[in-house]
């Protein structure tokens, strides 16, 4: 599995790591039950503090996407909601498009309700 971090981006490194995992889950690149790279290895390769990786993994665990187990490392949960993740990605794109067009959240929701 490939991780690419952009240190110059405004998005924090931990957030980039978590975002990469979410993207992989949504696209099916990562499946239920699969193991994520050990935090120590990921940190060494990306030249970041191990706590940065652990922050990312903790966020993913709090979102119910992965499990952190002593000795087994980080593992994608078997009950991970891939469809939910895919929907979240679509929603993100929609919200960003609305922002660009100057449409506020309430109006966006209204228009969504009107969709048949």
């Amino acid at each position: 599995m490939l991780f690419r971090l952009d240190p110059t981006s405004t998005i924090g490194l931990a957030e980039q790591i978590a975002g990469r995992v979410r993207g992989a889950l949504a696209s099916g690149e990562l499946g239920p039950g699969e193991r994520l790279p050990p935090a120590r290895e990921l940190a060494a390769g990306l030249e970041v503090n191990m706590h940065t990786v652990l922050r990312a993994y903790s966020a993913l665990r709090d979102d119910g996407l992965i499990e952190l187990r002593r000795g087994r490392g980080a593992q994608v949960r078997h009950e991970v909601d891939v469809a939910g993740l895919q929907l979240d990605e679509q929603i993100q794109q929609l919200v960003r498009a609305a922002d660009r067009l100057g449409v506020d959240r309430e109006t966006l929701i209204e228009r969504m309700r009107k969709v048949t």
Binding site: D6, E41, G45
Partner: protein, 313 residues
């Protein structure tokens, strides 16, 4: 000579050793003293013997086993080239058994007791030379293993910017080796109350095997790291600066000398299962191979990192 004829010749060589052993038994069996002389001190006097029957049976069994293994390897080599060195070594072993038995009974023929048999130096030469010749013959007869076709790496769509931090992780595991290691550990526990030395040996070997049950691979700006076993230790690194190019290929363990960390004329290899692996061409060093899933993706990342490094020069 065709490949088939060569392999048949090697098979004949493998079978011939135990057959010769039998012929010697039949020819000299009842003309030799029992026990047979098996060791001479520097003064030329016999100081070690073995029961004639036991001597024959043990050498025959070993010779037959080695011969059978050679036959199996020669048969499997139809699908993929099998280590020439392995077959040559096994032939050496089989013929050593035949040579040991043959020269011992030939030297002892006619003597009424073991002590009467002097060490015959031609016999020693035969024991050293014949197995060596058999091994060399087997080596020469077998086809030279072809290097795996290294496809020119396809133009990768992957490009890394100068500021990007890149890491690729991969794994390979062997369920079979895991079961064998587990079985060995259990067996050593069961053996312990009966025979401590054997239990200890089985325990140590099984423990060592644990380190070969899985492999982790990490590719980053430093290079390609190989992490052995469930603990990620021991580990080795091939630095990016040493790497010329990376390719993915299908690894056949027997082409690389077996399982584990192999040092072969073809290069160094970390092999724990049959299947995809990353092959690295190195500057001024032997090639390095590691079995890992998604090898094509990993090789791609290595090449993209190389491209990025070269753009700076």
């Amino acid at each position: 000579m065709t490949n088939l004829v060569n392999r048949a010749a090697v098979a004949v060589l493998a079978v011939l050793a135990p057959v010769l052993l039998l012929i010697f038994r039949v020819t000299y069996g009842n003309r030799v003293p029992d026990p047979l002389p098996t060791h001479w001190n520097l003064a030329g006097r016999v100081n070690g013997t073995a029961g004639a029957g036991t001597f024959f049976v043990i050498l025959l069994v070993i010779g037959v086993l080695l011969g059978v293994v050679v036959l199996l390897l020669v048969r499997s080599s139809r699908r993929s080239p099998t280590g020439r060195a392995a077959i040559a070594a096994l032939l050496f072993g089989g013929w050593l058994c035949a040579a040991l038995y043959g020269t011992t009974v030939a030297m002892s023929a006619g003597a009424s007791s073991a002590a009467q048999v002097g060490l015959s130096w031609p016999g020693v030469v035969v024991i050293v030379l014949i197995p060596l010749l058999a091994a060399i013959a087997g080596w020469l007869l077998l086809p030279v293993p072809a290097s795996p076709a290294v496809a020119v790496p396809a133009e990768s769509a992957l490009t890394f910017s100068d500021t990007e931090r890149v890491v690729w992780t991969g794994r390979a595991e062997s369920r079979l080796l895991r079961w064998i290691a587990a079985a060995g550990l259990v067996a050593s526990g069961l053996l312990a109350p009966f025979t401590v030395p054997a239990a200890l040996i089985v325990f140590v070997v099984s423990l060592a095997l644990v380190f070969v049950t899985e492999i982790g691979v990490r590719v980053d700006a430093v290079g390609l790291h190989t992490l052995w076993g469930p603990f990620g230790w021991p580990r080795g690194t091939v630095r990016l600066a040493e790497i010329e190019a990376a390719t993915a290929l299908q690894v056949e363990p027997m082409e690389w000398g077996g399982w584990g960390y192999r040092i072969t004329p073809r290069g160094r290899a970390a092999v724990i299962r049959r299947g995809p692996g990353i092959l690295l061409d190195r500057v001024g060093s032997p090639r390095y191979l590691v079995t890992v899933d998604q090898a094509a993706a990993g090789a791609d990342v290595v090449n993209a990192l190389l491209d990025r490094a070269r753009r700076h020069h």
